[in-house]
């Protein structure tokens, strides 16, 4: 296992950078920025809206106040007019001067604003003047008929003169009124200081004020009367100018330069303007207050946002960081580390996946290590087995070698011919034993190395059983054993030669290790397989040894049974594995044993090929000869069969040497004809050589083929040439080749494929000639 991983990510080979915390700050900044943008934006917008609304409502209120003030001042003037109306109601002649004077004096008392009052008759002559500060004048007859006051009053009932300042201090207005537009005209000098009383009563907020300017922009009334007495010119103020042009500004500076919210209204018909002004600070005090309050709230909100974003980001980042450190630790090798996240979301699921992965890794590692251990162990065992095998083999080899040494030494010193022959025979026996051992060793090596490739064909099992019978009948009778082989009509699918080897070994063992009684070989169909049993009445094999007997050099008994190397069953075991035919052992100590091998049944259960009996007739030199034809083309086989049978031959057809061997059924053929090209890449040379080897004979043979090229020579090298048979065949082949070439040249494409009557006839002739030559039949 890997060593304990360190807490920081500092495992060798890991990233040298220190752990970054950017994600946390990213989250913080993002959340704080979002809120930090949204909140102030909201605040600003709210403030702006509030300011706008407030200002609009203020301006509206102020306009109303201005209108009200204008109305009030208008009322003031109207009152005076009404009073003057009383005075001038009646025609001049109907009122006595005393009465008029009385009325005028009463008027003075009624209207404190009038400082002087003059009455003109219908001709415009002053008939009466009363005053507060100068002497009254009666009947001066001053002609004022051209005075604009008189003219205007007669024309339009009322005259409003321009505002003038007495002694440069007090503003006065000349007001004329003629109730009936004739009869009498009253001209009053109105002290406009009395408008100050009206203005002073108008409350505009805490520190706002209302004031009146005349048409020229001069101040007429103001809460601070000294401004009026100073004859302040307000005409320069933008709001005054705007009022004269008719526009309505909102925020301007007053005469002292302070910023105010201003509204105005006109006092018709005097042409005066009344202004209502409120200092901006007071006007917007509520807005400023709410600004302060909301900005405090904004500050609080932002602070809260920052805190919340820190907290939120921390919470979000924590599981991610747990993942990061956990993954780093697992990656560094601490596979038993488990990430713990309890956030209840996808991150927790991800953590689970990580843990699952780590657990899997852990298991794989454990598995791998265990497997490595097992393999190593197995290898060690195999090595051990090999060494033991070698030791046993060497041990078994030493014996005959030792004997050989003795025999050779004996031979050297022996002079007696008969004794020398006997010794030579013993030498032969020893050599044979060594040969046998070497062959067995070689077989085992070949099987172990896997160079043996089974060639599976379908063949009747009877053939195999027949060969067994022939092989062991004699030796069994010699030992006094009863050998019975029960045949079967079944066909099986297996490698003929290898299966034969297995059965040979089994029966050989049975014969060797059965002191008395018999051996039975039989077949049974079981589960779609054919079970071939070899039963003996020997000593049996104890239960605990039934596995071991298939090991190399394992012999259950001492050498009293003579012979045997202990390799037979080892070879059987390997062959059975190679062919994938399971072996069973059934035995009880002391009461014999049964060895069984299960082989698959052939798909097509065919009858063995009968050897045909030729029709009676002219005796053909080839009559009665057994010819084996090997070709992978069934048509060719049929053709050849027909041909050769017509000549009175017995034939066996097959597509390979193995099949041929199976079908020969121990009969020794007289001639082998093989196609050059066979299935599975095999060639005729090899097939013939193998067949000859299998049947331990040198049967004459020749090849037929459509090929005419120079490769005819190379197959000889391909065949391997282990024995002289191949060389003879080669020389035959060379001569045959000349025949073929000549024939082929005349009849192209002969022998393969399409049926050309001339070619067929030529081929027939050629085959016959070749057969004669091979069999050394001379025809007279």
């Amino acid at each position: 296992m890997s060593g304990a991983a360190p807490d920081t990510v500092a495992a060798p080979g890991a990233m040298p950078k220190k752990v970054r915390r950017r994600l946390f700050w990213k989250y913080v900044i993002v959340v704080a920025a979002v809120v930090g943008v949204a909140l102030p934006a909201n605040w600003l917008f709210g403030i702006w809206l509030s300011y706008r609304d407030h200002k609009a409502s203020l301006v509206r209120i102020q306009r109303e106040q201005a209108e009200a003030a204008a109305t009030k001042i208008g009322q003031f003037v109207k009152e005076i007019e009404n009073q003057l109306g009383w005075m001038t109601q009646l025609p001049w002649s109907t009122v006595t001067p005393e009465e008029r004077r009385f009325d005028a004096l009463r008027l003075l008392r009624q209207v404190p604003a009038i400082t002087e009052l003059a009455l003109l008759d219908e001709a415009g002559r002053e008939q009466l003047r009363v005053s507060r500060v100068t002497l009254d004048v009666i009947g001066s007859q001053t002609d004022l008929s051209q005075h604009p006051a008189f003219v205007e009053a007669v024309a339009r009932k009322n005259y409003y003169g321009p505002v003038y300042f007495r002694r440069g201090s007090e503003p006065y207005l000349t007001l004329a009124h003629a109730e009936n537009r004739r009869d009498a005209v009253a001209i009053a000098e109105v002290n406009l200081i009395f408008v100050w009383d009206v203005i002073s009563q108008i409350k505009v907020g805490e520190r706002g004020k209302a004031y009146v300017v005349d048409a020229a922009g001069r101040l007429i009334a103001h809460p601070d009367i000294s401004l009026v007495l100073r004859n302040t010119d307000f005409s320069a103020l933008p709001q005054v100018r705007a009022a004269r042009t008719g526009t309505s500004p909102d925020e301007e500076r007053d005469v002292q330069g302070a910023r105010v919210l201003t509204a105005h209204a006109a006092i018709a018909p005097l042409g005066w303007q009344v202004f209502v002004e409120l200092p901006l600070a007071e006007a917007y005090a509520p807005v400023y207050a709410s600004l302060l309050a909301t900005s405090l709230m904004l500050g609080g909100g932002l602070l809260l946002a920052v805190i919340a974003s820190l907290v939120l980001a921390g919470r979000m980042v924590r599981p991610i960081r747990a993942l990061q450190t956990g993954a780093a630790r697992i990656g560094a090798g601490a596979l038993d580390h488990r990430i713990e996240i309890a956030s209840g979301d996808e991150l927790e699921a991800l953590g689970e996946q990580f843990n699952h992965m780590a657990a899997q890794l852990q298991d794989s590692y454990a598995n791998l290590e265990r497997k490595v251990e097992e393999r190593t162990h197995e290898l060690q065992l195999a090595n051990l087995a090999k060494s033991r095998f070698l030791a046993a083999a060497s041990h078994d080899l030493r014996q005959p070698l030792h004997a050989l040494n003795l025999f050779v030494a004996q031979l050297r010193s022996e002079s007696d011919e008969a004794e020398r022959r006997r010794i030579a025979g013993r030498i032969d026996a020893a050599v044979a034993a060594m040969n046998e051992l070497f062959n067995a060793l070689l077989d085992i090596s070949k099987l172990d190395a896997g160079v043996m490739a089974p060639q599976v064909t379908e063949f009747p099992v009877a053939r195999l059983l027949k060969r067994l019978e022939t092989t062991f009948l004699a030796s069994a009778r010699e030992k006094g054993l009863d050998l019975r082989i029960v045949s079967s009509r079944a066909s099986i699918r297996s490698d003929f030669i290898l299966l034969e080897r297995i059965l040979l070994n089994l029966v050989s063992n049975a014969v060797r290790y059965t002191p008395r009684g018999g051996i039975v070989v039989g077949c049974r169909r079981r589960n779609g397989l054919l079970r071939i049993d070899v039963c003996d009445s020997g000593m049996g094999i104890p239960q605990e040894e039934q596995r071991n007997i298939f090991g190399e050099f394992v012999q259950l008994t001492s050498s009293e049974f003579g012979g045997g190397l202990g390799l037979g069953l080892a070879i059987v075991d390997r062959l059975s594995r190679l062919l994938d035919h399971p072996i069973e052992v059934s035995s009880k100590a002391g009461s014999g044993s049964r060895f069984s091998i299960c082989v698959p049944l052939a798909a097509v259960q065919e009858q063995p090929v009968e050897l045909t009996v030729p029709a009676a007739g002219l005796r053909d030199p080839l009559q009665g000869k057994l010819i084996v034809v090997i070709d992978d083309d069934p048509l060719v086989l049929d053709g050849m069969r027909g041909l050769l049978q017509s000549w009175g031959c017995r034939i066996v057809t097959a597509d390979s040497d193995n099949a041929a061997l199976a079908r020969l059924n121990d009969a020794k053929p007289d001639l082998i004809i093989s196609d050059y090209r066979l299935a599975h890449g095999g060639n005729g040379f090899q097939a013939i050589a193998r067949l000859n080897r299998a049947i331990a004979a040198e049967v004459p043979a020749f090849l037929i083929s459509g090929d005419t090229g120079p490769e005819w020579l190379s197959p000889a090298a391909q065949a391997g040439r282990p024995d002289d048979a191949a060389r003879d065949h080669q020389s035959d082949a060379e001569s045959l080749q000349q025949w073929r070439r000549r024939d082929a040249a005349r009849y192209p494409a002969a022998g393969d494929g399409g049926f050309n009557p001339n070619a067929a006839a030529a081929m027939t002739a050629s085959v016959r000639l070749l057969a004669f030559k091979a069999l050394r039949i001379t025809v007279t």
């Binding site: 005393e98 009385f102 009463r106 008392r109 005053s131 002694r167 440069g168 200081i193 000294s226």
Partner: protein, 322 residues
């Protein structure tokens, strides 16, 4: 040791008068008058100042100087006030204002009452006084002619009129001059009767009786006002119709008065004082003229004198006392 020093420093700091923004600074006001002592009209000034936020007990200190009718005392009293380092001097009567103006051209002077500011030379113009004097004027000169008119209405047949005042007071001189010019245009006589102090009243009335004066216009000076009872009694003893300048006289039993409301004048004076306290320059504060003039008649006195009050006068009268 150090801690104690710090504490002492803090204590001293707290104890010393702080020039806080406007709230706790004590304003010093000097009051100069020819009267003998406080009168009701004087209180009007203090009440008005209190309304404007100047508490006598808190942030306002008033130094009062009374000339007790003695005009010679005024200059010394004025200098005294100047030396007292007042922030503003409020004066009653023109002589006091003149004395104050002579005593200082730096300290602002507010005339609570003045007969004729321009005529007395107290200011250059009503709109812009210039100098350091501003305040209220009651237009005594303008009223002189109206008073004569009223007398003539009450006693149409009278031909010999007198002006009872102090020749040293300039507005009274001016008032008499106006009266005389009108009298001349009307063809009647007007004589100046000089009676500066109450002690000289007896002699003045004897003079008038000797000159066979038929009606008198009494100046509305502070001295006369203080001695209004005495004057009224004397006028009644001599069966002399008199017109006064203030309603105090008619309240005391005088026949008729036509003039400004002096309490109003003092009330308005407080506004001037407030402006000056707030830093305005008196040269820029316009002088205000009184605009309301009350005509008060005493019915019983008229009947006692055997005078019929014409309807026109009744129509004009603001009040008729019985």
């Amino acid at each position: 040791m150090r801690r104690r020093e710090v504490l002492a420093l803090l204590a001293g700091f707290a104890a010393s008068p702080q020039p806080a923004a406007g709230a706790k600074r004590i304003r010093r006001l000097g009051f100069l008058t020819t009267a003998s002592g406080p009168a009701r009209r004087h209180h009007a000034l203090e009440d008005a100042l209190a309304d404007l936020g100047y508490q006598a007990a808190g942030n306002l200190a008033i130094e009062r100087r009374y000339a007790v009718g003695n005009l010679e005392l005024l200059p010394a009293l004025a200098i005294d006030l100047v030396r007292a380092n007042v922030d503003v001097i409020v004066t009653e009567t023109t002589p006091a204002a003149l004395a104050a103006k002579k005593a200082t051209s730096r300290i602002p002077i507010v005339m609570a009452t003045a007969g004729d500011a321009l005529g007395s030379g107290l200011a250059d113009s009503l709109a812009r006084p210039g100098g350091n004097v501003t305040g209220m004027t009651f237009r005594g000169t303008d009223l002189a002619s109206k008073r004569l008119e009223v007398l003539r209405e009450l006693k149409p047949e009278a031909r010999r009129f007198a002006f009872f005042g102090n020749s040293r007071i300039i507005p009274e001189q001016l008032a008499f001059a106006a009266m005389r010019s009108i009298a001349e245009s009307l063809g009647i006589e007007a004589t100046f009767i000089d009676a500066p102090m109450p002690e000289s009243f007896q002699v003045a009335f004897a003079t008038m009786a000797a000159a066979k004066i038929e009606a008198v216009s009494v100046a509305e000076s502070a001295v006369n006002t203080e001695a209004c009872d005495q004057l009224v009694v004397l006028a009644a003893r001599d069966q002399l119709p008199a017109i006064y300048g203030r309603r105090e006289f008619t309240d005391a039993g005088g026949l008729v008065s036509y003039g400004a409301n002096f309490e109003d004048l003092f009330r308005r004076a407080a506004v001037f004082v407030d402006k000056i306290f707030k830093g305005s320059n008196p040269a820029d504060i316009p002088i205000e003229q009184s605009r309301k003039f009350e005509l008060v008649l005493h019915g019983r006195t008229a009947r006692t004198l055997g005078l019929t009050v014409p309807r026109s006068l009744l129509a004009r009268a603001d009040e008729v006392i019985e």
